[in-house]
């Protein structure tokens, strides 16, 4: 466990709903609850992993935290300051502290700018450096992420996926942030490159004292990099625990099913493993089930799961889960 317990970022009942207008004059409003009532704390210097299947709201949560989307409800508290209601200008100083690394290394770099300009853009926006000083900072950043200063005059299409992701990391580091949202930074890379990028992220964390929110769907990679792991299902956080505890003994039935899907490299052990196959598909987030959102696919579902939304509460010391039956099934 982390020795440092100072909270850097706190989410209180964070909600992000998307509204769609149907009909000619928008008279029929449908609401998609992409992130619904998520509360968590991220401590200084730790890596919080966030897992869940596609479309469960992981990326939306990450983007809402750094306020790329307007917050529908709840609070984002960064280092003791409520940043939820800040407008673009008031947000500018926080843009230097909160940064993001994106999923797709091909779409996240502007193909019409040189690598030097891409990395230099945050320096221009925040007026950090110009002229030869700017150049020097860009070269330092390139070296830091394992590229060379010659690369500064080249264009993104001349680089491989892994190198592009390094450029994206260098851009995020240019403002010397404290907190970085890594939005599936490795899922678009092949396995050997994934390891390189993850090691780079770990080295940078050690060197610069960074705090990460690491969003991914590769469960074993998340276990490797994270101190604590949160599991999301249909816009809600269903379980949050220290990563070893979560992987050794998941409490929530959804986490159990999710972890049973992790392949084991040893064929002998893999044969003994029991996989929990969930029935059905993920319900639509536009029209989620009443009560517990997982109840339609849960083996243990009872009457209470239909009636009440389970509270996200401490089930064991340091472990949170949102399930009515958490004591009964474990």
């Amino acid at each position: 466990m982390m020795t440092n317990t100072e909270v850097l970022l706190q989410l209180k009942n964070l909600k992000k709903y998307f509204e769609f207008n149907k009909g000619l004059f928008g008279q029929n409003k449908t609401v998609l609850k992409a992130v619904d009532d998520v509360s968590l704390e991220i401590k200084k210097g730790e890596t919080l992993g966030l897992v869940g299947e596609s479309g469960c709201g992981k990326s939306t949560l990450g983007r809402t935290i750094i306020k790329l989307y307007d917050v529908t409800g709840g609070k984002i508290i960064y280092d003791g300051e409520d940043i939820t209601g800040l407008n673009d200008r008031e947000m500018l100083p926080y843009r230097k502290k909160l940064q993001m690394i994106f999923q797709d290394p091909y779409a996240s770099l502007n193909s019409r700018m040189t690598v030097g300009d891409i990395i230099g853009e945050p320096l221009d926006i925040h007026g950090i450096a110009s002229g030869s000083e700017r150049k020097e900072i860009i070269h330092d950043l390139l070296n830091k992420v394992g590229l060379t200063s010659e690369h500064a005059n080249r264009y993104p299409h001349e680089f491989s996926g892994g190198q592009r992701q390094r450029i994206g990391i260098a851009r995020a580091l240019a403002v010397k942030p404290d907190f970085i949202v890594c939005d599936e930074p490795i899922s678009a890379l092949d396995v050997s490159i994934q390891a390189q990028v993850v090691n780079l992220l770990e080295d940078l964390q050690e060197e610069m004292g960074l705090t990460y929110l690491f969003i991914a769907h590769d469960l074993s990679m998340v276990r490797h990099i994270s101190d604590r792991v949160g599991v999301m299902y249909l816009g809600r956080l269903v379980e949050l625990a220290a990563s070893d505890e979560l992987y050794d003994k998941p409490l929530h039935p959804y986490t159990k099913a999710l972890l049973s899907a992790v392949p084991i490299p040893d064929p002998k052990l893999a044969g003994q493993k029991k996989r929990i196959i969930l029935k059905g598909d993920v319900p639509s987030p536009i029209n989620p089930p009443s009560g517990c959102r997982f109840r339609t696919r849960c083996r243990f579902a009872e009457e209470i799961c239909r009636e009440a939304v389970p509270e996200f509460k401490e089930a064991e010391p340091g472990r949170f889960a949102a399930c009515h039956l958490v004591d009964k099934i474990n």
Binding site: R95, Y155, G168
Partner: protein, 310 residues
Amino acid sequence: MANTKIADISADKFRPLPDTEKKQNEIVRPSITYWQDVWFRLKQNKRATLGLYIIIFLLLLAVFGPLLSPYSYSDQFLDKQGLGPSKEFWFGTDTLGRDIFVRVLYGARISLAVGFLASVINLTIGVLYGGISGYFGGRVDNIMMRIVDMFYSIPLILYVILLMVILGPGLKSIFIALGCIYWVEMARIVRGQVLSLKEQEFVLAARALGADTKRILLRHLIPNCMGPIIITVTMNIPKAIFTEAFLSFIGLGVSAPMASWGMLASEAMPAIRSYPHILFFPAMAISITMLAFNFLGDGLRDALDPRLRK
């Protein structure tokens, strides 16, 4: 082999990599920017290069051509009316005894000025209007695009005739009328491009870095629509030139003794049976210009399309 563990391999089996191997990782190929690549592919296309040369030639002729000729566009030689092409008058003279060559060159000035105006309007109003509309989206987009629809639905001739009532006939009315509507198509194209580009992660990244709207539009979105923008401009220039020629032809353009290609053609109409060459030369100038711009536009479209890259 399968059971060999890494620890079993003795350390002396490892050798440092020779320097020649290291060199392989250095970048040898010179950096080629996107535009260098486009230029290279454009040069491969013979029709497009021909079009480009013709346009440059026309520009030079329009600017310097009248200096080469001893006559002015309004000089009349009453004893030499309706002459065919000769050494003295390269394109012959018209029914009023004026040198057609010089008058075609002056016409080129007007046509190219119209083309220049159309491209400036396209690149400023059209690009910014479309960019803003697409980037803000939602209600702003809706209102801005309905205004565009309004402009689009009124025919150009109506604008010109109405403006003429106020300003009187002449080049000014044509310029204002063209300026009013020639950005509309560009605005639509840029809006469509921006709508799809603004969801891309590099725009999100710029926003996460704190870039303001102006920066995102001018540094990120518009440079990424440069391909369609250039194509639309090169396709719109000949359209504008042709519109001016058409308006002058039906008598809504420049007034005598100034010459534009449309007006020259119109003047030649009554005497088409006896002096066909008077119509031939301005008509040829219009056709060659149209072809040159369309060739170049086609070539640029191919050159800017990365899918056709070899």
